[in-house]
């Protein structure tokens, strides 16, 4: 038995921190694009991309929002890169309870990058003339695993154990009748 292979497009933004000049145009256009109606307002506090800036330490790290996470990390590390010390959170894309980043300022609801759906490329990339943000569409292969009859049997057995076989058969019959 061999697994079927399929490809899917993974959209990402590559970030070249050496090229960032810290202008925050990405924050402006992101928050404008996601305003309702579109472009009707802007507010970097609502942006789904943030430039972590510490000009005197020469730190400029654009980070775009990832998944919401329920809990903060247990440990927080420091990274030293090229003589500069970064908090681990600097690179984190999560909206999480331990910090204010990537949350709506009014409601506190988490924000997540959607790659500006409907546009040719994310607008933060389009507005970054410094080319610190590069849009990359990567084709990824992934295996589609065939469903095995045994797996289904295990699942059904568990349900039969819980509800009784008779009830399970009745339910399946009723579902079939609905189809």
């Amino acid at each position: 038995m061999c697994a079927e292979k399929k490809t899917r497009i993974v959209k990402t933004i590559e970030i070249d921190v050496d090229k960032c000049n810290g202008c925050r145009a990405c924050e402006v256009i992101c928050s404008a694009f996601h305003a309702e109606p579109k472009y009707s307002s802007n507010n970097p506090a609502r942006s789904r991309i943030r430039v972590i800036r510490e000009p005197l330490r020469d730190i400029y790290v654009p980070v775009y929002a990832g998944e919401y996470t329920m809990a903060e990390c247990a440990g927080r590390d420091k990274y030293i890169i090229d003589g500069k010390e970064y908090d681990e959170c600097s690179f984190c894309r999560a909206s999480c309870p331990s910090r204010v980043e990537f949350k709506e300022p009014d409601s506190g609801l988490p924000l997540k990058c959607d790659m500006c759906e409907g546009e040719d490329e994310p607008l933060c990339v389009k507005w970054c003339l410094a080319e610190a943000l590069i849009y990359v569409e990567r084709e990824e292969e992934y295996e589609v695993e065939e469903e095995k009859p045994e797996d289904l049997e295990i699942g059904l057995e568990a349900l039969a154990d819980k509800y009784g076989l008779e009830k399970l058969v009745d339910t399946v019959a009723r579902l079939a009748a609905k189809e």
């Binding site: 000049n21 810290g22 202008c23 925050r24 145009a25 402006v28 256009i29 404008a32 305003a35 109606p37 579109k38 472009y39 009707s40 307002s41 802007n42 507010n43 970097p44 506090a45 609502r46 800036r53 510490e54 000009p55 005197l56 330490r57 020469d58 400029y60 300022p105 507005w127 970054c128 003339l129 410094a130």
Partner: protein, 665 residues
């Protein structure tokens, strides 16, 4: 709902410790737009000419521009206006950076400071929280240090801070207000801030800025970004590298300093060093810059990289831009490493990079010529560079001779006497100028130097090339895609302008043509200063992305106020005349409107008089440079006209012309 602007100002009375949030009149936006325009209106209404810079009644206005914090690229300037202690006229220095947009996101268009705090304080603005807080722990701290200290103690790295250093605290007449990578330096506005007992304004904002016609506005922004990319790929041929592209002069990026070092003056604006820029120097200076420059950096929402982070070994990191790269180096006749090192101290102290080096070179020239004595400089080191550091320390502390020098070259000469005025030779209206001494009078520049209300050439020039192109083909090539001209006639003016012969300086451009060219250049600065757009994307460079043809669309789409070219031109005229009115009421007249006597070697008194006459007439001013009643009324400035008549500046039954001439006699 107000669009593009917030519709609120903060009124802060430091004497009483009172803060109020005040709604502004939308009609003022239609008449003056914002930024410099509305600042001038407030100063006119509320600061009478009897008020001196250091009176509590003087206002210090931190203003955003009308388009700050909208997505319009490069709209990030803070426009600070007050009465200058040095010129005693209206000062309107500006800075880029991040402060003004942050103020708007906090919900305010301006912070208007009045009164004086008995103790040193700072202002904390976080959306609706506005507090006057004790700053005694920041006393004597550097401007950059102060900003960092506030970010640390308030635990907010996103706080944007405008602060003064020691120079502002000690009311040095050329003290600046610093904001990390930017500074508002001209006219001594930092001294006014220090006089008010205000060390810093720290701002954080998380509110929305709205647009009236969103899709249209973003379309315009995208066009501007496309044009910036085009101009990056198409530098203008035939002009020096720092002026070929966009942005403010690319001093941080470009190493070739042949033009500045060989054409600008060294020392106290005295010595021209032809042949200075050898391969050896070029190599050494390039190495210096590359070894200390960590990154080219931008202001808010702008792709240009006019600034740089500078880390000189052994010194704290600071940020720099533009020509302050060379002003200390050239005043001290030293090298780039010295200039970049002393500039770190100067930035922390918060002093103007144009005036300060000249004041120090002036002092040493007075010593050399026996007007000041060794005894005036007790403890000054022997070595040249050590002397500059020593002088800088005395000036910002107002110690000994430093107390006199801290008033700038004009007032220092006044106090020193004994012929010292001969050495304060590079001023216009008491204000130190770029160190330039040239040969042949340039009529356009004559008018700009003489009449520019900002008293700084870089804040009025732009748009039109500084010099004629040698070949006709070059000129034809240049005008081909010159879309920025307000009128096609400007192309012909440029085509006709030749380096030599009949159509060359000083008689061409003719007084009439020169007036039109100056008017266009100045007009663009007045648009920028009302909108908060950086001159580097608009009024300063050749062929910029913003111009008189797309600006009205930006304003209309941003604010919802119907706008076209004619209406915008009228607003700039209104603002221009209002600024002038503030200064006229403070006593400024034709006699003050002149470049330094030695700016050009070849001078033409008759022609110069004709230039001024023609320009004044073109502007609707009388022979003394006073806006006529007719001009004022046509711009809706009737209240200015009434005040002028009440004060006898204009006569009720005449247009001002006769009255002003009577004054001169």
């Amino acid at each position: 709902m107000r669009y593009a602007e917030t519709g609120f100002n903060l009124e802060v009375d430091l004497s009483r410790g009172n803060v109020e949030k005040v709604a502004t009149d939308p009609r003022d936006t239609e008449l003056y737009l914002g930024g410099l325009g509305t600042n001038a209106k407030i100063l006119w209404d509320r600061v009478p000419p009897e008020t001196d810079a250091f009176d509590p009644e003087n206002l210090l206005i931190f203003s955003t521009g009308l388009l700050n914090a909208t997505p319009a690229t490069g709209c990030n300037r803070t426009i600070i206006s007050t009465i200058s202690p040095q010129t005693k006229l209206m000062a309107f220095s500006m800075m880029g950076g991040f402060w003004a947009p942050e103020l708007k996101y906090a919900g305010y268009d301006k912070v208007i400071i009045r009164g004086k705090s008995p103790d040193l304080v700072y202002l904390y603005i976080n959306n609706d929280t506005v507090e006057i807080r004790d700053a005694s722990h920041l006393q004597g701290k550097g401007a950059i240090e102060t900003a960092e200290a506030l970010r640390q103690e308030l635990g907010d790295p996103k706080l944007q801070v405008s602060a003064i250093g020691l120079a502002g605290e000690n009311r040095v007449f050329f003290a600046s207000i610093e904001q990390g990578r930017s500074s508002a330096s001209r006219g001594g506005i930092g001294a006014v801030m220090g006089d008010k007992g205000l060390k810093a304004i720290a701002v954080r904002g998380t509110k929305d800025i709205n647009l009236a016609k969103p899709a249209e506005f973003i379309g315009l922004c995208n066009e501007v970004l496309e044009y910036i990319k085009y101009r990056e790929d198409h530098p203008i041929p035939g002009v020096m590298p720092i002026l070929a592209g966009l942005g403010s002069p690319q001093e941080m990026k470009i190493h070739d300093e042949k033009w500045h070092t060989e054409n600008f003056m060294w020392g106290n604006s005295r010595v021209r060093r032809k042949g200075f820029w050898t391969d050896e120097i070029a190599k050494a200076w390039t190495e210096t810059m590359e070894s200390v420059r960590r990154r080219l950096i931008s202001c808010y929402n702008c792709p240009m990289k006019c600034g740089a982070t500078i880390s000189v070994p052994g010194l704290p990191t600071y940020m720099m831009k533009c020509f302050s790269k060379l002003t200390y180096t050239m005043a001290a006749m030293s090298d780039l490493e010295f200039g970049l090192s002393i500039a770190q101290k100067a930035t922390e102290y918060g002093v103007d990079g144009f005036s300060t080096p000249q004041v120090m070179a002036f002092a040493l020239e007075l010593l050399e010529n026996g007007i000041l004595k060794e005894s005036d400089f007790p403890g000054m080191p022997e070595d040249n560079e050590g002397r500059f550091y020593w002088l800088l320390d005395r000036i910002v502390r107002r110690e000994g001779i430093g107390d006199i020098l801290a008033d700038g070259t004009y007032w220092a000469a006044e106090r020193i006497g004994n012929g010292a005025h001969e050495y304060a030779h590079n001023n216009i209206k008491k204000h130190e100028q770029l160190p330039l001494k040239l040969s042949m009078l340039n009529p356009v520049y004559f008018l700009m130097y003489s009449t520019g209300e900002k008293i700084n050439i870089t804040q009025i020039e732009g748009q039109f090339p500084q010099a004629p192109f040698p070949k006709k083909e070059q000129r034809e090539e240049f005008v081909k895609d010159w879309i920025q001209v307000p009128d096609e006639k400007f192309k012909q003016y440029f085509l006709d302008w030749e380096p030599r012969g009949e159509n060359s300086n000083p008689y061409y451009p003719t007084p009439q043509i020169a007036s039109e060219i100056v008017d266009w250049q100045e007009m663009m600065h007045y648009v920028d200063d009302a909108l908060g757009t950086c001159a580097g994307l608009s009024s300063f460079p050749l062929k910029p992305p913003y111009h008189i043809h797309n600006y009205p669309k930006f304003i209309e789409a941003g604010t919802g106020i119907p706008m076209d070219k004619d209406k915008l031109v009228e607003i700039t005229r209104r603002n221009r005349n209002l600024v002038r009115a503030v200064n006229i009421r403070r006593g400024m007249r034709r006699a003050d409107e002149k470049p330094p006597a030695n700016h050009w070697k070849k001078r033409f008194p008759e022609l110069e008089a004709e230039l001024l006459d023609t320009y004044y007439k073109f502007k609707g001013w009388n022979k003394d440079g006073i806006p006529t009643a007719e001009t004022l009324k046509s711009l809706g400035l009737d209240y200015v006209c009434e005040d002028f008549i009440k004060r006898g500046i204009l006569k009720a039954d005449e247009e001002g012309e006769v009255n002003a001439e009577a004054d001169q006699n």
